[in-house]
Symmetry: C2
Subunit: 116 residues, 2 copies
């Protein structure tokens, strides 16, 4: 068993084309012995956004703090806030934006796609 205070887990900035003001913590992953799933926590700073993209694995998201905008496959913009969950299907286009004043923080769980 591993117990961690999330704020003490190493945080890295995501530097990718199409991404701005995005930070990631791997709360639970392969380094902790997790075989099937990876739990990450992302912070989007005010004005930040993730890349608009799709991929073959699903996302299970839970908003931890602040509020943000999710852009769905069709380009619709939906506001979410703490206490909301979002399921992004395989191969679905998606993007997360933070046009607000406070950090937008969410957990994003994915299958351990490096296991094979």
């Amino acid at each position: 068993m591993r117990i961690a205070k999330n704020s003490e887990v190493k945080e890295v900035e995501i530097v990718l084309k199409g991404t701005k003001g995005m930070r990631k913590r791997v709360l639970i992953g392969a380094d902790n012995g997790s075989k099937d799933i990876i739990m990450r926590c992302f912070t989007l700073l005010p004005g930040g956004y993730s890349e608009r993209h799709s991929h073959s694995h699903e996302h299970l998201v839970n908003v931890q703090g602040g509020k943000g905008i999710v852009v769905d496959n069709e380009g619709n913009e939906i506001e979410v806030r703490e206490g909301y969950s979002i399921f992004v299907e395989r191969d679905e286009l998606h993007q997360f934006l933070n046009p607000f004043q406070k950090d937008f923080e969410f957990i994003c769980v994915i299958p351990n796609i490096d296991k094979t």
Copy 2:
């Protein structure tokens, strides 16, 4: 894509031997099209506890609200609170307790073990 307010997702009471005051919401699961992972949210009422057990799938847990006690494989009791994450390995004995005054709420993610 599916977006839900967690508090509006159907909540059920878990009635099992060795379990008391425990409620569950399946935030994202097979019914929503999730193939690989299930995201559940549990609430342990004050005085409540989960069964002490082990199983062949792992748990990735994030505490959403309140505080509680996690009992590990060796019987150690560790206090956790909002902002903590817990990884329970496969086949590891574990139990969650709430001896406190406020609801203890946590997300618990598992592989979709019904998919095979």
